[in-house]
């Protein structure tokens, strides 16, 4: 195994009118290739902040972050944008599909940003949708799909570019129990069959249960870490 993401002594302090908010305090964290890790903790513990820092969406106040061997320190906005596009897949809690595009077009869209030709785009998008049992929904727009279906399309969009890392921020926040279970099984399949490294920020015990490693954050620090061994499965 080799390291996909590494945080060294990362702090993130937000300015606030009353007092600075320490969202992360000297966090050391690493993510190995092929892992399925969940960041857990109560609201305000820093799990989403850590996810965003690793996803090059937020800049640490102090410390350093590396993604796939690339240090994010000093990268310009455009370089960070390109890094997100090439190396990271995102699944957000509110599905966040483009409403005017069909499922296939939403999946293709990310490849268009990468400049991939239309024939390859279509082939890869259909393959990604089929692999997630979404082939029949390819021509539907988001408002014609259920929340669970939209989230699965978001996962298809996230994996279609073969990212080194898939970041899922509260992916089950808007889903019922059954749909959450389906989503977790899907993420596990993506992790095991495609070898995609997954990092989720969640306070849903069901999602945590599917991760091989659970990292508990409290007050911006890593408080505990549990690794599921083959025996415990």
């Amino acid at each position: 195994m080799n390291t996909v993401a590494r945080c060294h002594s990362v702090s993130r302090i937000y300015d606030d009118e009353v007092a600075p908010v320490h969202a992360l305090r000297n966090v050391d964290f690493h993510l190995e290739r092929g892992e399925f890790v969940s960041l857990a903790g109560p609201s305000g513990s820093g799990k989403s902040t850590l996810l965003h820092v690793i996803g090059a969406l937020d800049e640490p106040t102090d410390g350093s972050v590396e993604v796939d061997g690339v240090s994010l320190d000093g990268l310009k906005a455009r370089e960070l944008s390109d890094l997100r596009l090439e190396k990271i897949g995102f699944v957000f809690q509110a599905f966040n599909l483009i409403p005017v595009l069909t499922a296939r077009e939403n999946v293709e869209f990310i490849m268009q940003l990468q400049g991939i030709d239309s024939a390859s785009r279509r082939e890869r998008a259909e393959e990604a949708l089929r692999s997630l049992d979404l082939g029949e929904l390819a021509d539907r727009r988001p408002n014609e799909m259920s929340g669970g279906q939209q989230q699965r399309v978001a996962i298809a969009r996230a994996i279609v570019t073969n990212p080194v890392l898939l970041l899922a921020d509260e992916p089950s926040a808007n889903l019922d129990t059954n749909t959450t279970k389906e989503l977790c099984e899907l993420l596990t399949r993506v992790n095991q069959e495609r070898g995609v490294t997954i990092l989720t920020a969640t306070h849903d015990p069901m999602v945590m249960g599917y991760a091989a490693r659970q990292v508990l954050l409290r007050d911006g620090e890593i408080a505990d870490e549990q690794r599921e061994t083959p025996e415990s499965t």
């Binding site: 965003h52 996803g55 969406l57 937020d58 906005a77 455009r78 944008s81 390109d82 890094l83 997100r84 596009l85 090439e86 990271i88 995102f90 957000f92 509110a94 966040n96 483009i98 409403p99 005017v100 595009l101 990310i110 268009q112 940003l113 400049g115």
Partner: protein
Amino acid sequence: MSLVKVGQLAWRNLWRQRRRNVTMLVALSFAVMGVVFLNAFLRGMTAQMADSAVNNMQGHVKVLQPGYLDDPGIGKSFVLESEWSPEIPAGQMQGWARRVRVPAVIMSERETRGIEFIGIDPAQESISFVADWTIEGEGLQGPDDRRILVGKSLAEQLETVAGRRLVIITQGADGRSREAGYRIAGTYESEFSAVEKLYVFTGIEAAQALLASDAVTEVSVRLTDAKHQPTVLESLIATFIGLNVFTWQTLEPMAAAMMQLSDAMIYILFIIIMTALVFGLVNTVVTAIMERYREIGMLRALGMRASAVLLQVVAESTLIMLLGVAIGTAAGGGLCLWLSDGIDLSAFAEGLEGFGMASNVLVPVVLPGDLAFVVMASVVMGVVASFFPALRAVRLNPLEAMRH
């Protein structure tokens, strides 16, 4: 991202807020249609004013003795060889006319009036409004016709009719007062009552006989197209050394100024109307961006570059502007086509006369250059105006936008 995809996405985004964008589109289309029609109306008006000025016995270019304009009379005349005609390339000249034009007094048994006594060769006057008039009685038959043609309004003032005699008094070439009696061949009706009251015509040789001179006071040249004016002007200046050669713009400065004013009006109207519309467009773009904060944030988070977001927003407003311009231009052009037989403005006849317009029917004139200006300037204004709200979208922090 390809421009085709940007355009496709922009098109679909436009339909997300159908009512708002259709309202904006209708407003844009009406504005552009209005601008196209107003331009055509103004162009038609100026074309008619220019035509009237040229028709008013000025021609496009006129030769005069220096000082004639300040002190018109046979003393400010010049001799023209009997075989002379302008050396202007074939196809450039519609015609030319020589005239004797002097101030005079006309008397009937009851009234006396100040007039301009004009000796013409009727065959040459196809270049002026003289050929278009309706004449009651008879017209002049040739340069040696000793009868006179009087305006209907003047005839009413003088309380006379065709067939009666009038006396004309003027100053001869020798400086002495000369007078002669003339029979009225007919009365003419002009579009301008002022013309009817002022101009009295006779054969040029008859006028020269009264003035005891074989000179003329003016030579007027009418061209087939105003674009030949500069070259013909130069040619006549070279021919008539020592004389003044004027364009109609110099001789009719009011009409020329009105034309320039119309040119400026076209731009002023466009800027006023389109600026108001562009503010509406900016408002629409800003609203669209605010509604899609989260979506734009998500796109930025996924890795869409700032330039692509900028392009996307500008593409949407450009698309709506292009649609508005296309519909408005087509509608404006169609309206002008529908009114191509002319707009009846007879209710404003007196006002139009003041503007130097001979006809009460105004035909809109659509110039390709005006259409190109409206289309190009509208699109440029749309792009520039949407650029600023688009910058706002670009500056969005992806995380903050997604939390919006």
